[in-house]
Symmetry: C2
Subunit: 426 residues, 2 copies
Amino acid sequence: MRTLVRDLAGPTGTTVRVCGWAEAVPDNPCTTAPVLSVRDHTGAVDVIVDAGEQLRAVTQGSAVDVTATIGAPREGVLRLVLVDLRVVGPAADPPPLGDGAPLDARLDWRYLDLRRPRNRLVFEVQTTLERAMRDWWDRHGFLEVHTPKFRAAPNMSGRELFAVDYFGRPAYLAQSPQFYKQMAMSAGFERVFEIGPVFRANPLITPRHDTEFVSVDVEVAWIDDHEDVMGMEEELLRSAIAEVALTHSAAVQDLFGREIRVPDAPFPRVTMAEAAAIVAGRGQGPTAPRTDLDADGERRLAEHVGGKSGHELVFVTAYPASARPFYHMRLKDGSALTRSFDLLWNGVEITTGGQREHRYERLVAQAERNPARVDVIRPYLDFFRHGCPPHGGFGLGLSRLLMCLLGLDDVRETTFLPRDRHRLTP
Amino acid sequence: MRTLVRDLAGPTGTTVRVCGWAEAVPDNPCTTAPVLSVRDHTGAVDVIVDAGEQLRAVTQGSAVDVTATIGAPREGVLRLVLVDLRVVGPAADPPPLGDGAPLDARLDWRYLDLRRPRNRLVFEVQTTLERAMRDWWDRHGFLEVHTPKFRAAPNMSGRELFAVDYFGRPAYLAQSPQFYKQMAMSAGFERVFEIGPVFRANPLITPRHDTEFVSVDVEVAWIDDHEDVMGMEEELLRSAIAEVALTHSAAVQDLFGREIRVPDAPFPRVTMAEAAAIVAGRGQGPTAPRTDLDADGERRLAEHVGGKSGHELVFVTAYPASARPFYHMRLKDGSALTRSFDLLWNGVEITTGGQREHRYERLVAQAERNPARVDVIRPYLDFFRHGCPPHGGFGLGLSRLLMCLLGLDDVRETTFLPRDRHRLTP
């Protein structure tokens, strides 16, 4: 029966079995009583080796199955005395990934990189975040949906699409479950969520972009406006972050030097027009009427909001229709502004959301401002013709959320096996 | 403030607001006190209309926002009296999908098809199943992973693969997270799960196949053999089905005429050789040495097991190496049989699993039996060279599990928006 390292206990001489990695193998196993460090996912333990002979076949990083007895502690720390050691998964020597390797090399050897407690913690936090969000959805009567990733037609813009050879005809990979979760509204599902991959043929290599990422999507019916959606996202995030704080705050403080704090509600809100004025006032003068923020503007806005309210999060609302996809509802009929929002965390956009236009004639009229492409999209609009209630929702990038929560600076750090224009392996 | 239909209550004359669909609109609204049926996702209620005039703009299926008062009940059933009705999402008249429409027509109008309580219930059960499985994983220390769907190389067989134009070079969509979840073992994640889409370019149109489906994947390290994996799947399924029984048994009995029963453990187990003998004894004589079961054989085996033990589920184990991918561990070194299993439910294969070969040299030797393709796969085997512990796991088709649980006969019934060779819409 195996014992996890964190559970090792008992009187001196008790026999235990530990399974894990030979983390540190003594350089010269012929010295008297060399010490082998063995790590599993719960911690590391020193194993005192009686005869160095036993370590001849052990290379650093090998998977080892160790039988030992509980030995005398050293400075209060439990140690083991080796009885038997089996190398069940030998590691090629020397290990290909040293300490301090740059991110790209770490990603080449991602399965070794992820053995480090700091990197593993990212995915422990991810697991807790998702569980806590699902608990919230469960308490609020949401259905989980899995929308198709194959679609027959390109999207409205035709940009950033991956094409698939689908039995001799083209199909396209979904860039978002947008229309599919809206179909769930037409189907009367009322409140849905999905956590699943989306695909974007983005040729840029930036710390915020990859070609596939996990999107957390929510859509709800019978809302009054986008404020209902923002209020829901606030509640959801606060509940999930509280759970992460409860479970991981000590480890995150220890390994990332970051305090997990539950953000106060309501999060600050500024309109896009206000944000433009703030950014202009902080030295980034607009060269043209501003309809959206660039990365620099997002950073300046974050500085302003943080200085004024101490808040790391801010909703930017009421984007001009020209800066948003056609399916957004206008603030009022005829307005040039939309019932839309982004959520920024320390200047990183983690969410886009809003209320959708559910009235078929208005929706088609809005789509027709791009007459060259409207035929492509029209079949998708059919489901608005059969009794679609008012609705809205948002999409949240899981790796960006984790990156902001942990104070990291690249979504590759919070993605299990990242993909970008150049990276398709491992 | 909206009230859900299931929560309607109160003294006669109380004003309420109900939001949902005009499910049944009286043919002739000019009759005295016509009755409109309004449904939301929690039920339907009759609304007595004082002046038929109010229904002139209402078509069947329209999304309506109704203000009414609680009226006198009829035969103990609560009814409402209309005060005001707003059509917020008009439906084109007549509805394009009638009762008794064949499956293909229903799928063409899937978002209307899913309004039916029976079809909605499938996704309520799905939500509960997934939640209960996640609870089980949470209790047992699993990490949730999201593996990439893009891969650089085709798989070993080169079959059933979708190719993507990836910035001018080919990439392939993952048919399973197999190697990626194994990488998590090499990364020391120990116990992982994923619920996500997989892609299979299967040209056949059958009730059991689609081109993308949701796979429930599990992988665990430090197992002794495949029996550990089967025992784990038994526990997981029993726990999840018990939760479905608790939450939905009355509704499933009512709408599907099916009793949700938690299967006894252990599930029956037969080796592939025993299964072949059973199937031959039931009139399907083998024409060649049998290494796998076809659909007819699976059905005959299910009859045999059901008749003998009353069990709907059976593990078939120890498939010959010739019938399994190269990465399976052999029963013993040198054996022609593998540490593999399928799980069948009423003759439908819902799971494939087993212990993997984690020893690099043996794995490469097994792969090299197909020398024409081994170069394609070799880069993926690198992660076995750096200390990989023994491990195993399984993949479970979510739509097949739901199909078997509810006694349905087509995975399209248990898929939100199905995809197959011919179907890419809606």
